[in-house]
Symmetry: C2
Subunit: 340 residues, 2 copies
Amino acid sequence: VTTIADVAQRAGVSISTVSYVMSGKRTISARTRERVEQAIADLAYRPHASARSLASRMTFVIGLQAPLRTGVDVNVVMEIVAGVVRTARDAEYDVLLLTSDDGDGLARAAGASRVDGLLVMDVESDDPRLATLSSLPVPTVLIGVPGEIRPGADAKSQVACVDFDFEAAGRLAAHHLADRGHRRVALLGAPQSVVTRHTSFADRLGRGFAAASAERGIVGSIHPCPAGPEAAHVVDDLLRAEPDVTGFLIHNEAAMPHLTSALSRHTSAASAGEAGSTDVGIVALCPAALAAHLPGIDAVIDIPAEQIGTRAATALLRLVSSEETEQVGLIEPQLTITTH
Amino acid sequence: VTTIADVAQRAGVSISTVSYVMSGKRTISARTRERVEQAIADLAYRPHASARSLASRMTFVIGLQAPLRTGVDVNVVMEIVAGVVRTARDAEYDVLLLTSDDGDGLARAAGASRVDGLLVMDVESDDPRLATLSSLPVPTVLIGVPGEIRPGADAKSQVACVDFDFEAAGRLAAHHLADRGHRRVALLGAPQSVVTRHTSFADRLGRGFAAASAERGIVGSIHPCPAGPEAAHVVDDLLRAEPDVTGFLIHNEAAMPHLTSALSRHTSAASAGEAGSTDVGIVALCPAALAAHLPGIDAVIDIPAEQIGTRAATALLRLVSSEETEQVGLIEPQLTITTH
DNA sequence: CTGAAAGCGCTAACAT
DNA sequence: ATGTTAGCGCTTTCAG
């Protein structure tokens, strides 16, 4: 409960001097600075955040709207959040956590001047929040790329966004599988609910995968997968209906272990029958750490989750300081061959 | 950027009247109230959070320190966080997200009067933060139970805490296995790092499991498990060294599928040898949703993660309003027999 | 039942 | 290089 006045008194200076030594916004003689800093330390003084923000019109807080549903992608969400928080902290910012199901959380936080900027995760291709966002009094960065925004489109009035380039990842995987000689490939992806909502990343991944398959003249199909062991049924059904599908891109954290084991089950069954003829290829799209020990995977496309958070937060902090920033920041996918 | 003065002017009343209609702290005539509310709606007025908090000395924000590491327990952490945020929102509070690796985040947030209260997750048995906490200018609730605190101990000056009763869960599981006739039981638990840190829940779970095993005259051993497929090795090694261990309590989200499949592998191998003689029992300790589809599990002890968050937040909000609250709130475990 | 006015603790002109 | 002071937008006495 010590105020700037207490510090000023103890240091024998005016309160503005104290303020200025803290902000560095004007030159202070070494001697006074020293005395003030001493007083601050002695009193363990902490400026009152609300007072500061009322006077300066800066809160040093950013809002982050995250999907706190359980199920898919928890690891990725958590790492992105961690990246955001870390980056914010490095810039002396704190993070206010909002959830996707808190309808007007964004408007509330921004309207009450509780935050200097907003980060929105879990974007959908045709996201209804987009309209609202542009009318908010603070800058916003999306983590995800809504449908209306295409890299290269005339960038006026677009909301800034940052994300992993799922479309490129889909293409990369399809090309890799085609290169390996697979003629029929399948994307085992996000749960139906995610697809139905047109969650941005699922749409983009599918689009890239389909486009590259077509381009290479191979047949690519897309199959939503539920979380947990049920995912194995999708594999079973698929391979029963279309036994000649040999290339797979799997992208579903919660189903990953079940997908790989179901696939390897089929592989060994098949090679037991006619040895050597089965040559299944599996590309996993997930955080590298998660894929590291999964058996049966031929290649991994890493989702650098924390980096996504870092990059988004960095972009937002630039906007907050009214600096320029990329309109669409896509993180390029990288495919790593797994050696067993 | 509309202020309370704008509203007052439009409604033809004084500033204080506007303030009072919003707070309900004094009786207002129906007519004035109506006009003011109309003006508020017309102008889409939002009180400035900092101004309000500077004047009222309340921020309507609580701080939540969460472990954003990836790996163990991500689902549980996320659900707890979701419970906290939801509960806070229902009471018109927002949540400031701090991370465990942000050393003085708690002191900073509290010292700068950025929050009205603090929620601390990821407590260790002998947590160094405890000393600091009691000196902070805001009330605090721990999610987890540090070693010094025992239910029933003289409750002065203790920090309030809320958690799932892991000790009781350990006991419950051991008793269940003993009831089923298992004479040697094993706890396949958290990774080594968590145990080494003396994370509160791991300590308590092990303590309860060991105590109840002793009480029932059966042999109980405890085995940390790494996340991912390596967890299977722990099972293999254990069963090679001690083939007569037949009862298992498994508690490690990230290893769960690998543990169950490793165990069932051994089970079927054994029963192939001498049919009928093998009678393995597995109790899973994890969110019920996660265990729902896992094969080979005989019983589940649910970790009601969201409820933990809800209860902790509720306790904190009571403290913030200077109401009384439980010193130690332990959520009782419940064992459910799984029917396949 | 309603107004006027004194702060809340700080920043940023405006002085010197 | 430092001090003085007018607000920032709101809550809450104090005064009708």
